[in-house]
């Protein structure tokens, strides 16, 4: 209810305030912070942090990228690298991006195979769902593909984090996401994989007036801020997941470990 009321006020203010002047500072990102938590541990990331060398691969479709010459540096994978580097201090962090514009989950499974042999990742951030929903791929098939991908990753000794769809108010009524959202959530719970609920986070930003996501624009500033926030919050989720793995080893399985030291 609190969020509803705040959203209502924010929506009323959104018009005049949501200009380029509103910096996407931490506070803005973390308006939606309560929606992001590492529900499950990331033991391989924890081990990699101990070795002071972490390799992360982002596998996804077009919504993991931004257009333009600056796109790669401003998109969330690059922001994730910066966030992790900052949080992990002396460890070397490498984030590799392996995105293909119109790949469905089952096509990404092929990419995963390649990624495992070529990049040897400790963690794969797997962004998927939108393309499958647009093509109307059978949700069962989608779910099977997710499971197959996770099998590969487990065999290849890599942790996984799911990233689901973007919230896109304009196309909300044109793409039926429901079955695919459920499939990702279900597989994440069943296989104990942390899920970065990008859809809920972006929806919250839009409701709270942090970012206005329904404006038609050619400018890239809002898109860059959105990706920056996603990168930071993903960074926090990954580090929390690793911490959770460590606390689990020492015997106290506390699911609410948060390390909010992103003082940037």
């Amino acid at each position: 209810m609190r969020m509803l009321i705040a959203g209502l006020c924010a929506a009323a203010l959104a018009g005049p305030l949501a200009g380029p002047g509103r910096a996407a500072d931490d506070a803005a990102c973390y308006v939606a912070g309560s929606l992001v938590h590492a529900d499950f541990p990331l033991p391989r990331v924890a081990a990699a942090i101990d070795r002071k060398h972490v390799t992360v691969v982002v596998v996804g479709s077009a919504s993991s990228t931004l257009p333009g010459a600056d796109g790669a540096a401003k998109a969330y994978p690059a922001r994730l690298q910066e966030s992790l580097t900052r949080r992990l201090g002396d460890a070397t962090v490498k984030v590799v991006t392996r995105t293909k514009a119109r790949d469905t989950a089952s096509e990404m499974v092929k990419t995963l195979r390649q990624v495992l042999s070529e990049d040897k990742p400790d963690l794969v951030i797997w962004q998927t769902g939108t393309v499958d929903a647009m093509l109307g791929v059978d949700p069962d098939e989608f779910q099977t593909a997710l499971g197959a991908g996770l099998d590969l990753l487990r065999a290849g000794n890599a942790d996984a984090v799911f990233v689901n769809m973007q919230y896109s108010p304009r196309t909300d009524s044109m793409i039926s996401l429901g079955a695919y959202i459920d499939a990702i959530r279900f597989v994440a719970l069943q296989r104990e994989i942390p899920l970065f609920d990008r859809l809920a986070v972006m929806k919250d930003w839009n409701e709270m007036g942090v970012f206005d996501l329904s404006t038609a624009t050619k400018k890239i500033d809002v898109a860059e801020k959105v990706h920056d926030c996603i990168g930071r919050m993903l960074g926090r989720l990954v580090v929390d997941g690793a911490m959770l793995a460590k606390t689990n080893v020492t015997g106290s399985g506390n699911a609410d470990v948060t390390t909010n030291k992103d003082n940037h």
């Binding site: 209502l8 924010a10 529900d39 647009m134 973007q166 896109s168 108010p169 009524s173 039926s176």
Partner: protein
């Protein structure tokens, strides 16, 4: 032609009486089963009207008001209610027709109805195309290049439009009418069988359902995948509705009204509610045993999961208990808006889909705050009621101009099933 002659006054029960009073004029006069019960059961109109409202609310994306709809509190949703009641009314209307005027005429009328639904579906598709073409031309945002891919089909309208006409390409939220078209198109032989031997017909329906599950049959969709509502599975609910209309309701009535059924239904609904809560509060999911989740999930909407069907039955059991057929409130003005909507279901369903487009459009263009969501939800339902009232008024005027002719049930049969 007439295989099961009804008393002559059966025909009198039509038009105006069905709206205002729960007339059971000749319920006890039918000489032999399986007679079609006379008098319109207003509960059907009421619940179909409510289902149409819920479908409208559910079709507006990101609408907080849709938290009131039943899909959030159990397995089944308004679609089950709509399909069941559609089956019930189809059998009620065309069953009488088949008895009175023969198989050929009744079949022709059913197919004509399927054609009307098809035309309505294509009309909605055109509106959808207009909306999407507008968005394609006017909306640009570097964040959403991926989502805009949904508009790519505008680049090959030849394929898209043909696939839409073949009912293979179905935009989001436009899956119910194609299901209804197939159910109606396949209904004549099923109705014939239902009138001959209702038990065999129901068994055939169950067999088709089981066969569909066993061999994973479904119709293909475009650009990939299969139908969102598999007609070969959902026919079970439609035929079950028809079976109830043709005497089945009396047969299972005592069972449905028994204490055992009542408590079973209550327990089932409570369990379903608790399970549903774990979807919204994932941390509760740890209380669901793993073996149980593995047995239960996925709860398949496409193929009308048995759990969904059971949930609908449980709801129906409680409804039968608390909402009797002669419930006085059914004729009160409070219930009238929903009943009116339920009586013109095709038109109101289409209005609902159209209004949900408009509503979402207004939310994106003006504001998507909670107040706006409430306003749009309420205005939409008011518009649906106004449309239904207008249609009723028009049909009344038409009916008065050309009083009873040789085809007395034309209005009832053509407009309401």
């Amino acid at each position: 032609m007439t295989d099961f002659p009804l008393p002559q006054n059966a025909i009198v029960v039509r038009l105006d009486t069905r709206i205002m009073s729960p007339t059971d004029v000749d319920r006890n006069q039918s000489p032999m089963p399986p007679a079609v019960p006379a008098g319109r059961d207003l509960r059907l109109d009421l619940f179909r009207g409510l289902a149409l409202w819920l479908i409208y609310l559910d079709h507006i994306p990101s609408n907080m008001v849709s938290w009131v709809t039943i899909r959030n509190y159990g397995f089944s949703d308004a679609t089950e209610i709509f399909v069941f009641i559609s089956g019930y009314t189809a059998a009620y209307v065309y069953g009488r027709e088949m008895n009175n005027r023969g198989v050929v005429v009744a079949s022709a009328r059913i197919l004509k109805r399927a054609w009307q639904v098809y035309v309505a579906h294509i009309f909605l598709f055109v509106i959808y195309m207009a909306e999407i073409a507008y968005v394609a031309a006017s909306f640009e945002n570097p964040l959403y290049s991926e989502e805009m891919g949904i508009l790519n089909f505008l680049k090959q309208p030849d394929v898209t439009i043909i696939e839409a006409m073949l009912l293979k390409f179905k935009p989001a939220n436009m899956d119910v009418l194609p299901l209804y078209i197939i159910l109606l198109a396949g209904f004549p032989p099923m109705l014939w069988l239902l009138l001959r031997n209702a038990t065999v017909a129901l068994a055939a329906s169950v067999a088709l359902y089981a066969f569909t599950w066993r061999f994973e049959l479904n119709f293909p969709a475009y650009p990939s995948g299969t139908w969102v509502f598999n007609p070969m599975a959902w026919q079970l609910l439609f035929v079950f509705g028809a079976w109830c209309a043709l005497g089945g309701a009396e047969r299972i009535g005592p069972l449905m009204r028994s204490r055992t059924a009542f408590w079973l239904a209550v327990v089932y609904l409570v369990c379903a509610f608790l399970i549903t809560m774990t979807w919204y509060f994932p941390r509760l999911a740890i209380y669901v045993p793993k073996w149980f989740s593995e047995w239960m999930y996925p709860i398949d909407k496409t193929n009308l999961d048995v759990l969904r069907f059971a949930h609908f039955l449980a709801l129906a059991t409680l409804t039968l208990r608390y909402v009797p057929r002669d419930w006085s409130a059914l004729t009160s003005p409070v219930m009238r808006p929903a009943i009116l909507c339920g009586q013109h279901s095709l038109e109101i369903f289409c209005s609902g889909v159209f209004l949900s487009f408009i509503g979402h459009f207004a939310m994106v263009e003006i504001s998507d705050g909670l107040a706006m969501q409430v306003v749009i939800s309420v205005l939409g339902i008011v518009a649906m009621v106004a449309t239904a009232a207008l249609i009723s008024w028009y049909k009344n005027v038409e009916g008065r101009k050309a009083p009873r002719q040789a085809t007395p049930n034309a209005d009832l049969a053509g407009g309401e099933a």
